[in-house]
Symmetry: C2
Subunit: 153 residues, 2 copies
DNA sequence: CCAATAAATGAAACTCTTTTTCATTTACGT
DNA sequence: ACGTAAATGAAAAAGAGTTTCATTTATTGG
């Protein structure tokens, strides 16, 4: 994943290329997971001085430019992922928070067509979020069952 | 929609049948829309003295009993709807905010099976939210195009 | 390279939703 | 009706996100 394409996009839209913006982009690019503003703030703070407000503002800007996408976590908190154009299907691991963008769900257009036919709605946009356990967290769940049957926490 | 089936469910699970609980149930039953705790609080306050905390606690209890379901609004706020067992698909009108619960999406199990096969995830739960315009708001949008072409707001 | 300046930042204060604490009230079996 | 545990309401606190404003910084032109 190239940071240059995103920094160019900023410049072309008349925005300045600042240290916080570069840092947020870099962190998002390197992340395997959806990150909350607080997590990005923590990560960024380890390398240079930055305010949480700036993280929020930067994420809002990047979302507006279509570079990142907001996802809703269970408690209503927001997290952000790099936007994969056209893919609004997210698979989120309840164990470790890792996410996968799912491409090419062939059934989706049929499903939407059926809903439109049945309800008369005109569907403009959809969000599909699937929650479950990733392969590695499934393993850990099994191991925990065996080794810690006395632990009732 | 009968309130008795829900009050019975409370009693059968060892919970007391209090005025706030009855009121929240009644408000949920009568509502055409997803309601936020604040909205339920406001509605309830018009009829008797109740604390917002109690609304939160009652909704948490009703959700745990499977009587209501939490939906995430765009700004991260939570709203609640009466649970339609097994239906976690919501169709929301961008125009008027009305929602429809969609039953029997036959494609969904296939879709989930495909995702599991492709990713190795075990999907426990899903949320499908479709956004668009309901028939009546589509009409209004068309009328606005005709009658107000000079209005650039 | 340096100065001017408009954009961007950080700190603090604030708003709003949700949770916790705890003393008071209420539902319900006896 | 009484006693008791459950439930409630008020207040305070916790947490996410936003607003304000003085300071800093990226960029443009000399």
């Amino acid at each position: 994943m190239q940071i240059d394409q995103f920094t160019n996009q900023l410049r072309q839209n008349g925005y300045r290329l600042t240290k916080p913006r570069q840092a947020v982009l870099q962190i998002m690019i390197e992340s395997e997971r959806a990150l909350t503003p607080a997590e990005i703030y923590q990560e960024g703070s380890e390398h240079f001085r930055v305010g949480l407000v700036t993280i929020y503002r930067t994420l809002a800007l990047l979302e507006q430019l279509g570079i990142v996408r907001q996802v809703h976590l269970h408690d209503g908190e927001h997290a952000y992922v790099l936007a994969t154009p056209g893919h609004y299907h997210t698979l989120i691991c309840n164990g470790c928070g890792r996410f996968v963008e799912i491409a090419g769900l062939a059934e989706m257009p049929h499903l939407i067509a059926e809903v439109e036919a049945r309800t008369g709605f005109k569907v403009a946009e959809h969000r599909l979020e699937l929650y479950g356990l990733c392969p590695s967290c499934q393993q850990q769940a099994i191991q925990r069952q065996h080794g810690a049957s006395h632990d009732t926490t």
